[in-house]
Every structure is written in C-alpha cells, then in structure tokens.
Amino acid sequence: MVHALLEARRALKPGGRLIDLRPTMRNRRVELELSSATLFIGEIDSASTFSDHVAANAALAAALAAGDFRLEHQTTFHYLSDLDSLADLRDFKRGLRRSVMPESIFERIDALTADEGDAYLIRIRREMLIARYRRL
C-alpha cells in the first residue's frame, strides 16, 4: 500500500482528497432476526487478513509522517448484508476468499429457524473504516 499511496498522491490535484474505505480488523458477525428477537449466531473469522490491515495502517502512518497527506476525518460504520435463507448464506460463504465461516453457524440457524417458515432474516454485520485525507 505504500506505493499505492505514493501513486494516489501523484494522481491527485494539490489539495485533493483521498478516501480510505476498508474493513476493520473486527470479525464479521452473523445475526438472526426472528419475529421475536435478534440473536447473535457467530463470527466469520478474518484473522488471516489482519496482516494486510496492519500493513495498510503502517503505510498510512508513514504517509502522514512524511507530510504527504493530512487526516481530516475518520469514523466507522456497519456494512450490513441481508440474506433470506441458508442457501443464500452458502452462496455468501462461497464468496469468501480468506475468511472462515464455521459450519456451526449453519447448524445453529437451521435449528433456530425450524419452526419459522420464511419469517426470518440472516444479517451479516461488518465494521468498516472510512477516512478522508487531504493531499498536501
């Protein structure tokens, strides 16, 4: 990311803005919304990606220290993915590249929704970081 930041700075007009949008290092949470309650089911393990986050943070810190950018604003929010069925959740799992979704999540949802028919929602909650930097 160090080189990508240098390139981004080169491509930006002086005073231009860099928006950094990426997941944080918190695991994604799988939740089940029933008519009566919202339940926490489990986490999708993203530990294998943490070294990339550490590297990205270090690259940004270096860019700030070098006077290439100035941090203007930073916050987090939740990116929500809503799914209607376990089949959708299987599709979601197939799309994961390095994160791991344990089978226990499927087993638990299957057990909890046995009497719900279609009246439930599977929600995957991912914490995202968004920051704005000014090109100096």
Partner: protein, 94 residues
C-alpha cells in the same frame, strides 16, 4: 432469494458524507465490478476505476453509467498523468 449488500445504505451514506457534496474527477482503486462505483457515480463528473482483470465486470453485466470507465491496472502504476483527480477512493477489501 438474494444477498442484499449494504442493506441499510450505510456505505453510500458515509461515503457521500465524507465527500461533502463535492463532485469532480474521481479515481477508485480497487473498483472490482463497480459495485461501489455505481452508488456515487451520478455525483461525479467522471469516474475512473482500476483493479485486477479478474475482478472487473464481465461481459453482459449490468451497464455502468456513461461517466464511469473501469480498466485493468495496478494501483502502484496508475495510467494517469499527475494531478488529474479531485478524489481518489481506496476501496480495498482484504
């Protein structure tokens, strides 16, 4: 049955808040299939997106707005002249 991404619209809401209503020329590094690009493209004069060839939209995908141009390129060797863009968006997923 479907996977509804950004179901609450938080990603777009926070991105637009960060942009503060500013338009201009955008570059998105890590654009993938244009999922995020579609959301803010109407607020930009022009958007260029770059990513690995395997992640770009496939033939037959839903068309992108005319102001959007996606291409295979590396974020460490951007095929653009210096000082071209008002905004660069790093939309990275690990």
């Amino acid at each position: 049955m479907a996977i509804r991404s950004d179901a609450a619209g938080n990603e777009l809401s926070f991105l637009l808040d960060m942009l503060g209503g500013k338009g201009g020329q955008f570059l998105e590094v890590g654009c993938g299939d244009g999922r995020l690009t579609r959301k803010y493209a109407l607020r930009a004069a022009r958007v260029y997106g770059v990513d690995l060839p395997s992640t770009l939209p496939r033939a037959g995908s839903e068309p992108l707005p005319a102001s959007v141009h996606l291409a295979a390129a590396s974020g460490v060797h951007l095929p653009f002249p210096a000082g071209r863009f008002d905004h660069v968006i790093f939309a990275l997923a690990f």
